[in-house]
C-alpha cells in the first residue's frame, strides 16, 4: 500500500520536476535558470524515480536510449551555430526571429542542446550504473 503511494508520489514529483525543468530552460535567458540548471533539475527528478522504482521505469518512459539524447543535443547545439554561418557570419553568431522583437533565437536552441546533452549524459550513466 505504502509502496503504491510512494510510487505514485515519485511519479508525480518526477513529472512536476520535469515541467519545472522545462520552465527553467525557457526562462533561463532572462532570469536565473538555463540549460544546465534545467538539465540538472530534470536529472534529479529522474534520479529520484530511478532510486525509488529502478531503472526499468525510466527506460520505458524515455522510449529511446539516453545516448540518442546526447547525440541529438550535440547536433542541435552545433546546428544552432551553423545558422549564422549560412548567413555568412561567424560560427555561433546569434540569429533571432523576428529580428526586431527577438522572440526566438539560435541561442535558445543552443541552450536546448545543452539541456539535452547534460540530461542524456547523466541518465546514461545513471541507468547503466543501476543496471550493472
Amino acid at each position: 500500500m505504502t509502496s503504491v503511494i510512494l510510487k505514485t508520489a515519485t511519479r508525480l514529483v518526477g513529472a512536476l520536476v520535469l515541467v519545472l525543468s522545462i520552465y527553467l530552460l525557457w526562462r533561463g535567458h532572462h532570469a536565473p535558470g538555463g540549460g544546465f540548471i534545467a538539465a540538472l533539475v530534470a536529472a534529479t527528478g529522474f534520479a529520484l524515480v530511478v532510486l525509488a522504482e529502478g531503472p526499468g521505469v525510466v527506460r520505458r518512459g524515455l522510449r529511446i536510449r539516453p545516448q540518442y539524447l546526447i547525440g541529438a543535443g550535440l547536433a542541435l547545439s552545433m546546428g544552432a551555430g551553423l545558422v549564422g554561418m549560412i548567413r555568412q557570419q561567424p560560427f555561433l553568431t546569434g540569429v533571432w526571429w523576428p529580428s526586431t522583437s527577438a522572440v526566438a533565437g539560435t541561442p535558445l536552441f543552443f541552450d536546448t542542446g545543452v539541456f539535452l546533452v547534460v540530461l542524456g549524459a547523466i541518465l546514461t550513466v545513471l541507468l547503466a550504473l543501476e543496471e550493472s
Binding site: G71, A75, M78
Partner: protein, 498 residues
C-alpha cells in the same frame, strides 16, 4: 572573418554526434568515422593553405569582437600542429579499423576518438586561455575513455595515476586562470599580451606564470612532472596510444610555447631560464628511463619525455633558430613517434608480446615491417637524411650559437643514448632470432588497414628529411611569428569588429 577555422573543430564533433546517433549500426559508425577523419584532414589542409598564403587567420566566434567573445586564431604554428593532427588522426583511425575486434564492444570508441581530435584542433586554434582550458578538458575526458576502453587490469593500473595527475594539472591550470583574470581582467591571449606589457605586478605575474608552467608541464611530461606518462602509455590499444604519444604531450608543449611567447613575456630571464634547466633534466631523465626499460612500447614512452626536453630547449633558448628547431622537432616527432607506436603494434601482432626478451625474428620473416621500423626509429635517433636529423641539428646549432655548451653537450649525449635505445629494439625484436620462450612464429598476414598508415607516415618522415627546406621555412615563419607577437595581436584585436 574566416569560418575556415571552425571546420577542423566542428567536423570531428559532428562525426562524434553522428556516431552516437548511429549507436545500433557499428558498420555505419565505422564508415562515418573514416569519412570524418578524411574530412577533418581536408579541412586542415584548406586552412593550412589559407594561412600559408594569406597569413594569420582569425575567426571571432559568435561575431563578438575580441577580446569580448572567443577568438580562434590560426598562425603558422597552429596550422602546422593542425596538419599533423589531421594526418595522425587519419592514420590512427585507419589503423584502428584494422584493430577493431577489440573495440567493437565499446560502441563509444568512435565518438570518443573524434571528440579527442576535435579537442586537439580546438586547443591548437583557440586564442582564448579559458577556451583552451575547455579544450584541454575535452581531450582529457576523451583520453580517459580511450585509455580504459580495453578494460584490462593493466589499463586500470595505468589509468588511476593518469586520471589523478591530469586532474591535478587541470586544477592548477584553472587556478592560474583565476589569478590571471584577477590581475588583468581578460582571458584573450592577444589582449593578455598587451595588458601584461604595461602591468605593474611583474613579480606576481611570474608566480602565476610558474603555475601555468606546472600545469602545462604535467601535460607535456616535463621533468619532474611526467610520472603519469610512463605509467599509462603502454596500456591502451595501439591506435589510441599512437595518437596519445603523437599528440597529447605535444598539446602541452604547444600550450607552453604559446603562453610563454604570447602571454608571459614580461620576465623571460627567469621563466625561460628555469625552462632551460628543466629542458636539460627532462632530456636526461627520459632517455635514462628508456635505457632501463625492456618492453617495446615502454621504451618509446620514456623517449617521449626526453624528446619533449628537446622541444622545451628550443623554447627556453628563445632565439629564432632555436624556436624554429622546436617547431621542426614538434612536427617531426609527432609523426615519427606515432608511427613507432603503430609499428610496435605490428610487432605485437607477430610476436604476441611487447617484451623484448620474448620478441625476435621480425627481420627475417617480415622485412617490410623491419624497414617500417628502421625509418622512424633512426629518424628519432637523428640520423640523416631523415627528419630527426634536421630537428636535432637546428637545436644543437641554436644552443651553440648562444654558447650554451652544457646544454649542447646534453643534447648530443642524449642523442647517442637515443641511438642506443632504438638499436636495442632493433636488435632484440628484429635481428635476434625468436627465442624459445617466444610465442609467435605463426605467419601473420599484413593487414592493409594497419600497413597503409604506417607506410604513409614513414613516407612523410622521408619526405620531411629529404625535403627539409619547405618544412624549415614553415617552422621558421612560425618561429618568427612567435618571437614578434605584434602581428598576432593585431590580427586578433585589430580587425573583425562588427
Amino acid at each position: 572573418m574566416s569560418n575556415l577555422l571552425i571546420y577542423p573543430i566542428l567536423l570531428p564533433f559532428g562525426t562524434a554526434a553522428a556516431s552516437l546517433l548511429l549507436w545500433r549500426k557499428p558498420a555505419l559508425q565505422q564508415a562515418v568515422s573514416l569519412a570524418g577523419v578524411i574530412g577533418q584532414l581536408a579541412a586542415c589542409i584548406v586552412l593550412f593553405s589559407a594561412v600559408t598564403e594569406d597569413g594569420i587567420q582569425v575567426l571571432q566566434v559568435g561575431n563578438w569582437p575580441a577580446p569580448y567573445g572567443i577568438s580562434l586564431v590560426a598562425d603558422h604554428l597552429s596550422v602546422l600542429m593542425l596538419m599533423v593532427t589531421g594526418i595522425l588522426g587519419t592514420a590512427a583511425a585507419f589503423y584502428a579499423r584494422g584493430e577493431l575486434p577489440d573495440h567493437l564492444r565499446a560502441k563509444s570508441f568512435h565518438a570518443l576518438f573524434h571528440v579527442l581530435l576535435g579537442g586537439l584542433s580546438g586547443a591548437f586554434l583557440t586564442g582564448d586561455l579559458f577556451n583552451l582550458y575547455v579544450w584541454f578538458e575535452v581531450m582529457l575526458m576523451a583520453s580517459f575513455g580511450l585509455m580504459t576502453s580495453g578494460q584490462r587490469r593493466a589499463q586500470f593500473r595505468g589509468a588511476v595515476p593518469y586520471v589523478v595527475i591530469n586532474l591535478l594539472a587541470t586544477l592548477l591550470f584553472l587556478m592560474g586562470l583565476a589569478l590571471l583574470y584577477g590581475l588583468t581582467g581578460t582571458l584573450n591571449m592577444a589582449h593578455l599580451h598587451q595588458k601584461i606589457l604595461s602591468h605593474e605586478a611583474r613579480g606576481l605575474l611570474t608566480a602565476v606564470a610558474f603555475l601555468f608552467m606546472a600545469a602545462f608541464g604535467i601535460k607535456a611530461g616535463m621533468f619532474p612532472l611526467f610520472f603519469w606518462l610512463p605509467a599509462s602509455y603502454h596500456t591502451p590499444g595501439i591506435a589510441v596510444s599512437a595518437l596519445f604519444a603523437g599528440m597529447l604531450t605535444k598539446v602541452g608543449v604547444y600550450a607552453l610555447i604559446r603562453t610563454f611567447s604570447l602571454v608571459f613575456h614580461h620576465d623571460m630571464a627567469t621563466t625561460h631560464g628555469v625552462l632551460l634547466v628543466i629542458a636539460g633534466l627532462t632530456m636526461v631523465t627520459g632517455v635514462l628511463g628508456a635505457a632501463a626499460q625492456n618492453a617495446f612500447r615502454r621504451i618509446l614512452s620514456f623517449h617521449i619525455i626526453s624528446q619533449v626536453g628537446y622541444m622545451l630547449l628550443g623554447l627556453a633558448l628563445w632565439t629564432p633558430l632555436a624556436l624554429t628547431g622546436t617547431v621542426f622537432y614538434l612536427v617531426h616527432h609527432m609523426i615519427v613517434k606515432a608511427n613507432l607506436f603503430l609499428v610496435s603494434g605490428l610487432g605485437r601482432d607477430i610476436n604476441g608480446t611487447m617484451d623484448l626478451n620474448r620478441m625476435g625474428g621480425l627481420y627475417q620473416a617480415y622485412p617490410v615491417v623491419a624497414v617500417l621500423f628502421f625509418v622512424p626509429a633512426f629518424s628519432l635517433a637523428g640520423f640523416p637524411p631523415l627528419s630527426g636529423f634536421w630537428a636535432k641539428l637546428l637545436l644543437i646549432q641554436a644552443s651553440l650559437q648562444v654558447e650554451h655548451y652544457i646544454v649542447a653537450a646534453i643534447a648530443v649525449a642524449v642523442g647517442l643514448m637515443t641511438v642506443y635505445s632504438m638499436v636495442k629494439i632493433w636488435i632484440e625484436a628484429f635481428w635476434k632470432p625468436l627465442p624459445s620462450s617466444g610465442t609467435g612464429g605463426a605467419a601473420v598476414p599484413y593487414s592493409g588497414w594497419k600497413m597503409a598508415p604506417v607506410c604513409v607516415l614513414a613516407m612523410i618522415t622521408l619526405v620531411i628529411g629529404l625535403g627539409a627546406e619547405p618544412v624549415y621555412r614553415l617552422a621558421d615563419t612560425a618561429a618568427r611569428e612567435l618571437m614578434a607577437p605584434q602581428v598576432y595581436v593585431e590580427a586578433v584585436l585589430g580587425g573583425g569588429r562588427p
